[in-house]
């Protein structure tokens, strides 16, 4: 059993990322962390394409758009039922979060066996800890944080994952920005293969930053590393992805074996 789970309200969304697609106004995440229960979701909008756009804030209030597949609005009544220990309610919530949780775990961990354990343990923790959820942050953020923590715990358990991450002091090559970024036209499968070729912790940082919208300080806190570590993993991982996909062109697709080379 691991005992590193978020305190309620510990999850947050990016507060200053003007370049995030769909983001509206920015505001400190602490604003809604501290919001009273009645306005707990004020200022949070889900903008993931697979979800309906859910503006959870008051009309006219500044809001933060969240582009995470976790961003699912759960009725308070359902949460209350889980807190009472109702398995039926838990199953409903499980079904809603299974795919986002699985995707996140798989992207971070890299292999389905361990991802399976991560989702299994994380969902049990959601059930066990539901009574500790106080509603001062969105339920989906709380669930996501549990999954992230569980995945990071798994990576820490195997020290090689930590050791394989790029050296913080090692400098990344200057990105060649004169040519178009390869992921602009790379196929999904090729990008996935290139991601899989990265060290797990580096891949996790990239995913948490770009897809889940966490800031470097948040990633540093979650990983137990420094902000500069998070930044360096992002920069070096991005450079490595560029290298891996650099030889790919629409006319000449990438070779999976080439991308598998570390």
């Amino acid at each position: 059993m691991h005992l590193y789970w978020p305190s309620p309200g510990a999850d947050s969304v990016r507060a200053k990322r003007p370049d995030r697609p769909g983001q509206l106004h920015q505001g400190p995440a602490a604003q809604w962390r501290k919001a009273p229960d009645g306005a707990r979701a004020s200022g949070v909008r889900c903008t993931h394409p697979s979800r309906r756009v859910a503006t959870l804030g008051h009309a006219g209030a500044s809001s933060i758009a969240v582009n995470s597949s976790f961003c699912i609005d759960i009725p308070t009544r359902l949460i209350t039922r889980i807190q009472r220990g109702e398995l039926g309610a838990f199953e409903q919530v499980y079904r809603l979060f299974e795919r986002p949780a699985w995707t996140l775990a798989l992207r971070m961990i890299g292999n389905p066996e361990d991802a399976r354990e991560v989702v299994h343990d994380a969902m049990l923790r959601v059930f066990d800890r539901a009574r500790q959820f106080r509603g001062d942050s969105p339920f989906w953020g709380w669930v996501r944080r549990i999954v992230v923590n569980e995945a990071l715990m798994r990576l820490r358990r195997d020290r090689t994952h930590v050791e394989q991450a790029y050296d913080e002091t090692e400098q990344a090559h200057e990105a060649d920005t004169s040519t178009p970024a390869p992921w602009a036209w790379t196929e999904a499968r090729q990008l996935e293969s290139a991601l899989e070729a990265l060290p797990a912790l580096t891949r996790s940082v990239i995913w948490l930053y770009h897809v889940e919208g966490h800031t470097h300080p948040e990633i540093a806190e979650m990983t137990g590393k420094s902000v500069s570590f998070s930044k360096s993993q992002l920069a070096r991982g991005t450079a490595r992805l560029r290298e891996l996909l650099g030889t790919c062109t629409p006319e000449s697709p990438c070779s999976p074996t080439l991308m598998a080379t570390p």
């Binding site: 059993m1 590193y4 597949s69 969902m123 400098q171 990105a175 990239i206 137990g224 930044k231």
Partner: protein
């Protein structure tokens, strides 16, 4: 110097984030929920006998405390016939202590895991438990960075102490079960 430490400029010309977000979600294995449900059911079944077993263990523990059959003292309170075992036991080495702490920590965690009904219902205890859990997480992070036994030993001591505190906080609902009004247990604090 990194190409772009914050990733802001990079994102404007290099929309990696957009490409990653456009990746299709992975399909979870079909039997994953069944496995989770089985685990939950098994734990519920196990819990049916846990409370009676815990009561029986408490009674036995109380009897042992009163009678203390291990130190040879008679019930009239006379002096012990045998010296304390700890007086002749050599001090354990750091590795032994580390192993003992890890074992004890595991047992405490296992006990806490089985105690899902023991979530504090009192607001202050709930906050204390959450804080203790965070502290344990912090110690875990430090442990993951420890490179030697000498570095990890004090951390394991700290971890065990925190788990003991957590066990105290978490077990309070049982102790106060007979006094729900005083504890405010009628409506769980969310």
């Amino acid at each position: 110097m990194f190409p772009d430490p914050d990733g802001h400029a990079m994102k404007s010309i290099d929309p990696l984030g957009a490409a990653l977000r456009a990746l299709p979600p992975a399909a979870p294995p079909g039997d994953l929920y069944a496995q989770v449900a089985r685990t939950l059911e098994a734990r519920r079944a196990g819990r049916r006998w846990q409370v009676p077993a815990a009561l029986a263990a408490s009674i036995l523990f109380g009897w042992l405390l009163v009678n203390q059959p291990w130190n040879g003292r008679d019930r009239s309170g006379g002096p012990a016939d045998t010296p304390l075992a700890t007086a002749t036991t050599p001090a354990p080495s750091a590795n032994d202590e580390l192993a003992n702490l890890q074992d004890y920590s595991r047992r405490l965690e296992s006990w806490l895991a089985d105690l899902s009904d023991g979530v504090p219902r009192d607001g202050r205890n709930l906050m204390a438990a959450a804080e203790l859990e965070d502290l344990v997480g912090l110690v875990d992070v430090q442990l993951s960075a420890a490179r030697s036994a000498s570095e990890s030993l004090p951390l394991w001591r700290q971890r065990v102490a925190l788990l003991e505190d957590l066990a105290t906080v978490r077990s309070e609902p049982f102790a106060l079960a007979a006094e729900p009004a005083r504890n405010g247990a009628a409506s769980p604090t969310l």
